[in-house]
């Protein structure tokens, strides 16, 4: 089954938006980390995601071939044009919230990128291979933090438990597939996220159990990111991130 260029572009932009938005959230910790080492780690992970976003946006621009650049996508689109999964845009919260989100996303991304390496699209396969190598380090770190926070003090345990409760309903969306992604999968280019769920659930459950954290119940779910329907949080990210380009269009360093 073949897909056309515009479908491929939409798909690539989804991956790009996911990476950019989480990169932005992580970068907010710069100079606010709980320790110097953590500050460096958080911003290094942010940089990896930023680099990933740039590669995906660059590829989307190449597919579009209409003069768009990575900056056009990052700075000139409004909330409803962004198609990131909502979990990435949630405010950074406290350190427990940031690490809880990061761990859940790291587990998902590593499995996703591992499969995307087999994509028939050579550019996506190449980006996935890079992302996969880096993702191993991300996951190792976020997993260790989960164990430390969950099995740490009463305060850190409670905060991590609360963070998991607050985030859990946003994980459903990670495993949703719409018609477009179905077509991308059938073309041998994308990844069927539904298939990733059992292993993700198993790994996450094992980590949370080891961290003495109760796996939250899946009785609520918020979705809509892929359709451009966002939480209030995305608008605040964009007002911060896009301000300069909106005030001085085309401005460069």
């Amino acid at each position: 089954m073949l897909i056309d260029k515009s479908q491929l572009k939409i798909f690539v932009l989804r991956l790009a938006d996911d990476a950019l938005v989480i990169a932005h959230r992580l970068s907010e910790w710069c100079s606010h980390g709980p320790s110097l080492e953590e500050d460096l780690a958080l911003t290094n992970v942010a940089l990896d995601y930023m680099g990933r976003a740039r590669m995906f946006y660059g590829y989307a621009a190449e597919i579009a071939g209409d003069g768009s650049t990575e900056d056009t996508y990052a700075y000139d689109r409004d909330c409803r044009d962004f198609t990131n999964l909502l979990i990435h845009e949630l405010p950074r919260g406290d350190f427990a919230f940031t690490m809880a989100r990061q761990y859940l996303v790291d587990e998902f991304n590593l499995a996703y990128m591992e499969l995307l390496q087999q994509s028939k699209d050579p550019t996506l396969a190449a980006i996935a291979t890079k992302a996969n190598k880096e993702g191993l380090y991300h996951l190792r770190r976020s997993r260790k933090w989960l164990l430390r926070l969950g099995d740490g003090t009463a305060e850190s345990h409670n905060r991590l438990q609360q963070a998991m409760e607050d985030i859990w309903g946003y994980t459903t969306e990670l495993f949703e597939m719409d018609e477009l992604e179905q077509a991308i999968v059938e073309a041998g280019i994308g990844v069927n996220a539904i298939h990733l769920h059992p292993q993700w659930k198993q790994r996450v459950t094992a980590t949370l159990t080891e961290a003495t954290i109760t796996v939250p119940s899946s009785d609520w779910a918020v979705t809509g990111g892929r359709k451009g329907i966002h939480t209030e949080a995305l608008g605040h990210i964009l007002s911060d991130m896009q301000f300069l380009q909106r005030a001085y269009p085309g401005q460069q360093w």
Partner: protein
């Protein structure tokens, strides 16, 4: 410059296919002068290593009058890549080249396996432990393998922060990737 023939025979098996191809591209190139010029371009964060040592410099080709310098990024978001591209431009322009472009190649993905023995030795002399099997990570000061991980991410994305339990010195470890 790295010479394949001077590599100890016991190490030849460690040379990946990609790196062997890269060596061959350099040795059989019609643009040896350009390869040699670009040995002056160092990693801004690890000055003892050139972009050739790192495996970032992949190929130099020419089509009509345009010379293409192909590089492979280390980490996705490594800020050094921008500086490296600017430094390549400066070095080539100073040498009188004007008709060139810099292309980025993502595949095969960069790996620390492309670091030569000589590059590893220079890293160590610089005080950074070169990429190893996890249980062989040693202190660059006293060579002790009694070390502990302080942070998965050090001063840059490519390094982790360790401390030596023997001499107590903290040190950077160039992560194997």
């Amino acid at each position: 410059m790295v010479n394949l023939m001077s590599t100890p025979s016991s190490k030849i098996s460690l040379l990946s296919v990609e790196n062997y191809d890269r060596l061959k591209r350099r040795q059989e190139s019609n643009h040896k002068a350009v390869w040699n010029l670009l040995d002056a371009v160092k990693d801004p964060e690890i000055p003892p290593l050139s972009i050739w040592d790192l495996g970032v410099l992949q190929d130099i080709t020419q089509q009509q009058a345009v010379i293409t310098v192909t590089i492979t990024p280390t980490y996705s978001g490594c800020p050094a890549m921008q500086v490296i591209a600017e430094d390549i431009t400066t070095v080539l322009q100073r040498a009188g080249y004007s008709n060139f472009r810099i292309a980025t190649r993502l595949s095969p993905a960069w790996t620390t396996d492309w670091l030569s023995e000589s590059a590893r030795n220079r890293l160590r002399q610089y005080g950074v432990t070169p990429p190893q099997e996890e249980d062989a990570i040693f202190c660059p000061q006293c060579s002790s393998t009694e070390v502990r991980l302080i942070s998965e991410f050090g001063s840059t994305a490519c390094k982790a922060l360790y401390q030596c339990k023997t001499c107590q010195e903290p040190f950077d470890y160039f992560k194997r990737i």
